[in-house]
């Protein structure tokens, strides 16, 4: 008993670890990332504090005075500045006097600072005044602070007195890293684009599923059933090709077919139609080809599943029906289709999931175009988080969009698990050593 357990655990460990790390963890992390505003701008590791112009703008509504103060430089007489002043090799009296009577003073503008400097005992020249004031010019604008304390310390040195609430506001406005937020879901719920994409997705999944993954697959299975075995296997081999062919080449062939110098254009040219890009010409034709491209791949699974289900029907049923004078349609309607109820449910479940999630083919063929007319949900998530033209990749929003699919995926696959013979699979092992 014990040895078998140990061995079992050791042998299943690699699978468990790999699946846990690269499959289950991403499922959970999708949910975690969906609650953040991670993007290229915030980075994915902890951020820093930086008073950028954008941060100042954010502060303007709440704290206009502070925002105005932060964006202007201030002049602070501090030790750093004094050391720099020494290095400039001006008259030593300047440094001594500034240290003795002005150390720690803060001037709100260059004018005030220079007025003080002009009044120094050794009478600096105009040029020297400028040089001196420059060394004390202090600003937090565009400086990067690793943590909140460093930022607050710098602000305090510049003479900003902040209450704890103000500190909180300032630190939130200046933080460059990602934060926890539920905004992604609000964006998804409120955006017009998302509604359109949802409609696109529904249309795409329903039509492809109905016409090809189930409909055309049925046609293939039934027609190959009425053929000699060798001919049937040729057709099955041909229709399995789209699934076997790597997707990049498969889509390349379709691009060639529909391109404005490609097969359809040349062929239609024979009848006097001017060449055009049939793939991206209009939303309608783009959808037509997107569904064809995916449907041709999808049909093969249904074809194989339905074919083997039809093969399981005893031949005698067909012979009997023919003796009774049934025509082909009646054979299909009363013998074949009733046997295919479960296989059709199985394929529908399975392919709904994969159609919802897969965007390879659309990405490679239309990229969601023309415009955004063939953009589906999974492709939109990919475009949001991993590839877009604005350059700011919004991981958080993309993860939230993916999370919708993940939740749908988990629910559908749990249903799938309940419906399809799970309990029959868990038989007890026979050897208990």
């Amino acid at each position: 008993m014990k040895t078998s357990r140990m061995l079992g655990l050791v042998m299943i460990a690699p699978a468990a670890i790999i699946i846990l790390l690269f499959f289950l963890m991403p499922v959970i992390l999708t949910a975690v990332f969906a609650m953040t505003n991670m993007s290229t701008a915030t980075g994915i590791s902890a951020g820093a504090y930086q008073v950028t112009q954008a941060a100042v703008n954010r502060l303007k509504t709440d704290m206009p005075e502070l925002a105005a103060g932060i964006s202007e430089p201030r002049f602070v007489i501090d030790e750093d500045g004094l050391t720099q002043l020494d290095a400039l090799k001006l008259k030593p009296g300047f440094t001594a006097e500034l240290r003795a009577s002005h150390l720690g003073e803060v001037f709100l503008s260059r004018r005030e600072a220079e007025r003080m400097i002009k009044s120094l005992k050794e009478r600096p020249s105009t040029r020297e005044v400028k040089q001196i004031s420059d060394v004390f010019n202090r600003s937090v604008m565009n400086t990067r602070f690793e943590d909140r304390a460093a930022l607050m310390e710098s602000l305090a040195k510049l003479g900003f007195k902040l209450s704890p609430q103000d500190e909180e506001k300032v630190s939130r406005a200046t933080y460059t890293g990602w934060i926890w937020t539920a905004d992604n879901f609000r964006t998804i719920a409120n955006s017009q684009d998302m509604g359109q994409i949802l409609l696109n997705t529904g249309f795409y999944v329903a039509v492809t599923l109905l016409l090809f993954n189930v409909g055309y697959a049925l046609l293939l299975a039934v027609t190959t059933h009425y053929m000699p075995a060798s001919t049937a296997s040729v057709f099955r081999a041909i229709w399995l090709l789209p699934r076997i062919t790597p997707v990049v080449i498969y889509v390349l062939m379709w691009k060639w077919l529909t391109w404005d110098n490609g097969f359809i254009s040349l062929f239609m040219g024979l009848f006097g139609h001017p060449p055009k890009n049939y793939l991206l010409d209009s939303a309608g034709s783009a959808w037509f080809f997107v569904i064809l491209i995916n449907g041709f791949i999808g049909a093969s699974m249904g074809m194989l599943v339905f074919s083997s289900a039809i093969k399981a029907i005893p031949q005698t049923h067909f012979y009997a029906s023919e003796v009774d004078g049934a025509n082909r349609w009646q054979q299909i309607r009363y013998i074949i289709l009733p046997q295919l109820r479960w296989p059709i449910l199985f394929v529908t479940c399975y392919q709904t999931l994969s159609l919802l999630a897969s965007f390879n083919e659309i990405l490679l063929s239309t990229r969601g175009g023309p415009g955004r007319s063939t953009e589906v949900w999974s492709l939109a998530a990919y475009h949001t988080a991993l590839q877009n033209y604005t350059g700011n990749l919004e991981y958080g929003l993309g993860a939230a969009m993916a999370l919708v699919l993940v939740v749908v995926g988990v629910i559908l696959s749990l249903i799938y698990l309940r419906v399809f013979r799970y309990d029959t699979l868990v038989t007890k092992p026979l050897i208990e050593d």
Binding site: A15, I18, P26, P228, I249, G398
Partner: protein, 285 residues
């Protein structure tokens, strides 16, 4: 696939001819046939503008084999990457799922039912949706833009199917073989290694073939997780060529495509039956 051949011309029907349906399917299959035929024809020929009939034989489209395009990695480096990528995925999937499948089929481990249910749910689960999270995880782990990272991810995604298939195949091996081994004093590990594994050689073969093809064809994972020039695989390389609007040249694209697809077609031609079994059992796509 083996039909009963009692009625040689048409097994299903004595009253009807098969010709109309054959005609119909031939018509429907034409677009595929045309696309594949021209995939090969266009790589070794040029045709006059506006004509579908090739006018001359040429090898210029195959120049990419000995000339590296500016800004693109060397094709042989890319091929080597693809071979490493694919072989590692196959090796990992085969080893890990043949062990885990055996455990789930035969050994009494705690939470066995849970594992089984988990594997089945994950098998149906659309894994592409995880790509955003995986992208960020690999960045954290420092495995972004490395072959090892994308290999592990791809293997993890293929594993549930592999474990599921292997479990199914182990279930068909008679218990008596193991009983005999155990009675003769062999450990369970030895029994698995020496007695059971040889029984399911066809399964190992089928799964190996499947992983190889799925790894060779994979596009979106390497595209997102390892797009760099040094770790590029053929699918990413070809997609990059096609996306480059400045040099639009279908002849070259198709030549690279044929170079890329030939191993797949050869394997498919030889092992069609094995593959039909797996693809019929429900894979992603």
């Amino acid at each position: 696939m083996a039909e009963k051949t009692a009625v040689p011309t048409n097994p299903a029907s004595a009253n009807f001819s098969g010709l109309p349906v054959i005609g119909l399917l031939t018509l429907l299959s034409l677009p595929l046939a045309v696309m594949y035929a021209y995939l090969f024809i266009d790589t070794i020929s040029n045709s006059q503008g506006g004509s579908l009939v090739p006018s001359e034989f040429t090898l210029e489209h195959w120049r990419f084999l000995w000339e590296t395009r500016p800004g693109k990695p060397n094709i042989w480096l890319v091929t080597l990457n693809t071979v490493i990528f694919t072989c590692c995925i196959t090796a990992v999937t085969l080893t890990v799922s043949s062990m885990a499948g055996y455990v789930l089929s035969r050994l009494n481990v705690p939470a066995r039912g849970f594992f089984l249910a988990g594997v089945m749910v994950l098998h149906a689960f659309p894994s592409v949706t995880l790509i955003i999270a995986i992208f960020i995880v690999l960045q954290y782990l420092g495995l972004y833009n490395s072959l090892i990272g994308v290999i592990l991810v791809k293997a993890a995604i293929d594993l549930p199917l592999g474990i599921w298939l292997m479990k199914g195949f182990y279930d068909t091996v008679p218990w008596e073989i193991e009983m005999a081994g155990v009675v003769d004093g062999a450990s369970r590990f030895t029994v698995w290694r020496r007695l059971v594994l040889p029984q399911i050689k066809p399964a190992v073969m089928a799964l190996g073939l499947f992983s190889f093809l799925s790894g060779w064809s994979e596009f979106i994972l390497p595209q997102v997780l390892a797009p760099g020039a040094r770790v590029q695989v053929l699918s990413v390389y070809l997609a990059g060529l096609i996306a480059d609007d400045n040099n639009f040249d279908f002849g070259t694209f198709k030549a690279v495509g044929v170079f890329y697809v030939v191993p797949v077609l050869i394997l498919y031609a030889f092992f069609q039956k094995h593959l039909m079994n797996i693809y019929g059992g429900g894979t992603k796509g």
